[in-house]
């Protein structure tokens, strides 16, 4: 008994940490995908940019949390510029947008290498760790889990309680109708892209202490982020990202603990292939259908 309780706590902690990682890696991507139907392959590089911004400002003397928030704004501004100059031309051309953002990611990755060199001194993981039974727990990862929950709540509030959220959802559902009702759809798209980019930067900054700061660090987020998005689907992006983050963490954690981290990632890809074979539109569409059915039942 005295052994099984710490084991359970450790398992829940591991799954929670993996789910938080997947959610953080994917959140910026899903906002842009769900609201604008643009797949941003420069997502990993935006996270890299956030990590660099946080590291540089932190080394310059800013406290860690202030550096994280600063990196949100730095990358959000960069995202706005990206939307205004390039992304704007690719609405309605999904594959074109994919390819052009990939070009941007190549420039950003190699550009960071040329400007900052191959390595940068990492940020020390804030907070210590404590142990319970035979297992140790990092305080920082527990904070990251809480931050992920806060982010979900904040995004829900933004998209359900603010004028911007309402207008963004209107532009997503029917851009022409929204425009004729006076919604400035162009500005909404710029804001949405900036928000998605900023969130990518924020996640990059939050994950910076747990990663090696290098120009091509964005690549390590590409696989988990995109698998989370693919499994989550595009119907209701935030619930999709949360649902697929938790589901994939439930698959990845035990496999990773038993067979090593790489097998865990392979299990992610295999799981994604099987899940899309069963639910081609992702978890969010399935959740939506279950929800709709329940509402109908209550009404009848």
């Amino acid at each position: 008994m005295s052994e099984s309780l710490p084991l359970a706590a450790s398992l829940i902690y591991q799954i929670g940490a993996t789910a938080a990682f997947l959610f953080l890696a994917a959140v910026g991507l899903v906002i842009i995908l769900g609201m604008m139907n643009i797949i941003n392959l420069a997502h990993g590089e935006l996270m890299m940019m956030g990590a660099y911004a946080a590291t540089i400002t932190h080394h310059a003397g800013l406290p860690f949390w202030a550096a994280v928030i600063a990196s949100f704004f730095v990358v959000a501004i960069f995202g706005a510029i990206m939307e205004l100059t390039i992304i704007r031309r690719f609405y309605g051309r999904e594959l074109g947008a994919l390819v052009v953002t990939w070009g941007i990611s190549l420039i950003m990755g190699q550009g960071a290498f040329l400007v900052f060199g191959p390595f940068m001194q990492a940020i020390k993981i804030p907070g210590g760790s404590f142990s319970y039974g035979a297992f140790s727990f990092s305080e920082y990862w527990i904070v990251l889990m809480l931050v992920s929950l806060l982010l979900v709540l904040a995004l829900w509030l933004v998209y359900n309680k603010t004028t911007y959220g309402l207008q963004a959802k209107a532009s997503m559902q029917n851009a022409e109708m929204a425009r004729s009702l006076g919604v400035p759809t162009k500005r909404i798209y710029t804001l949405t892209f900036a928000l998605g980019a900023g969130l990518a930067g924020l996640s990059g900054a939050l994950l910076a202490p747990t990663a090696t700061i290098a120009p091509f660090m964005g690549q390590q987020f590409v696989a988990p982020a995109f698998i989370t998005v693919v499994v989550g689907g595009g119907a209701n992006v935030i619930s999709g990202a949360v649902g697929s983050g938790v589901l994939l963490a439930l698959i990845k954690t035990p496999v990773g603990m038993a067979l090593g981290a790489f097998s865990g990632t392979v299990a992610l890809l295999i799981a994604a292939l099987i899940i899309i074979r069963i639910m081609p539109d992702g978890i969010s569409a399935r959740l939506q259908r279950v929800f709709d059915r329940r509402v109908q039942k209550r009404q009848s």
Partner: protein, 350 residues
């Protein structure tokens, strides 16, 4: 038979159908045939490297331009074929037919992996944007896997996989006693490029190709007309993966080594860049772009220029923004609208 293949080659699936075009084409082929007689074997070997990438570019054009399905992970098949060839030919080092078995094994391996992958994505009818992402994830995982295969426990028969240092000492290609190296390897590459080009041009003008283009234009309508679109998309995916595998085979036969970075993110970008810059709806444009861009990358990076990747990325962005149908295709169209021809047309009308 010959008449039929000529008719297929002359069909509407690619640019360049005028007699003048064929004269230009013949001159270009003659140039490549005579090139090695004028230069050192080192220069010829460089050009062979540009040529050996062409099948992969053509595979991308087939998949993306003609079928409308984008893959960011075609280098995975390049790597699978290359590693399988290395393993098989390396283990059969004593036999003069080992390399041929290796080629067969490499292509078969590509076809099997691509068919399994294609089954999951095409039979699930996933949205179009999911396929590039899953292929990209696949190639990244393959790179990670191959990267951690350092050490003696990672060996197949007598061949070490070699981790990030890669697999070395891979045998040349040979048929019986004849070994393809130096000039003969150059002609092997050239022959394969010409054969794949004409083969694909005929395939795309045949009924199969017309259905493939119809699927790109309107998948639902094609299916309603009674064609199994899922099977055909899967088939195109397998063909194009095998073409990438063909490039991989030629690559290891050219350099006798391969490293996991060949299936990494930077390499994965290249076939997409060649296809986009050339113009994905024309096989010939992709051939030209593949050769020119490989020459450009090689020249830039051999001068120690670290901006090569920035320039390639910038080229991709500029192409997608201003020449969405490809630079070579748009140039060809401009040449096709020569002023004297417009005058001729005007005289014809009056």
């Amino acid at each position: 038979m010959i008449q039929r293949s000529l008719r297929l080659i002359g069909g509407p699936a690619d640019i360049g159908r005028t007699p003048l075009f064929w004269v230009g084409f013949a001159v270009a082929v003659a140039f490549f045939l005579l090139y090695p007689t004028q230069v050192s074997s080192f220069r010829a070997s460089n050009v062979a490297y540009y040529l050996l990438n062409v099948p992969m570019g053509l595979g991308m054009a087939l998949l993306w331009g003609y079928c409308g399905v984008l893959s960011f992970g075609h280098v995975a098949y390049f790597g699978i074929a290359a590693y399988l060839y290395g393993i098989i030919a390396g283990n059969m080092a004593g036999s003069s037919w080992g390399p041929l078995v290796g080629v067969g094994g490499g292509l078969l391996g590509c076809a099997i992996v691509a068919a399994i992958f294609g089954y999951f994505v095409f039979y699930a009818r996933v949205q179009k944007w999911i396929i590039p992402i899953l292929t990209l994830v696949f190639t990244l995982l393959l790179e990670t896997f191959l990267g951690q295969t350092a050490g003696y426990q990672w060996r197949v028969g007598t061949v070490l996989l070699g981790g990030y240092n890669g697999m070395t000492g891979i045998p040349w290609f040979q048929l019986g006693g004849f070994v393809f190296e130096g000039y003969s390897f150059y002609y092997l590459c050239l022959g394969i490029v010409i054969l794949t080009y004409f083969g694909l041009r005929m395939l795309m003008n045949a009924k199969f190709g017309q259905v493939v283009v119809a699927m790109r234009e309107d998948e639902l309508r094609t299916e309603m007309l009674g064609f199994d679109t899922r099977f055909r998309q899967c088939a195109v995916f397998v063909i194009s993966a095998m073409l990438a595998g063909l490039s991989g085979l030629l690559y290891v036969q050219w350099g006798n080594y391969i490293t996991p970075s060949q299936v990494g993110l930077l390499q994965a970008a290249l076939p997409v860049v060649w296809t986009a810059v050339g113009g994905r709806t024309s096989l010939l444009a992709v051939v030209i772009a593949t050769i020119v861009l490989n020459w450009l990358t090689y020249t830039l990076s051999s001068q120690g220029n670290q901006y090569a990747m920035v320039i390639i990325g910038g080229l991709l962005v500029v192409t997608m923004m201003f020449f969405p149908r490809g630079i070579v295709v748009m140039l060809a169209e401009t040449i096709g609208r020569r002023p004297w021809r417009r005058r001729q047309a005007a005289e014809g009308r009056s």
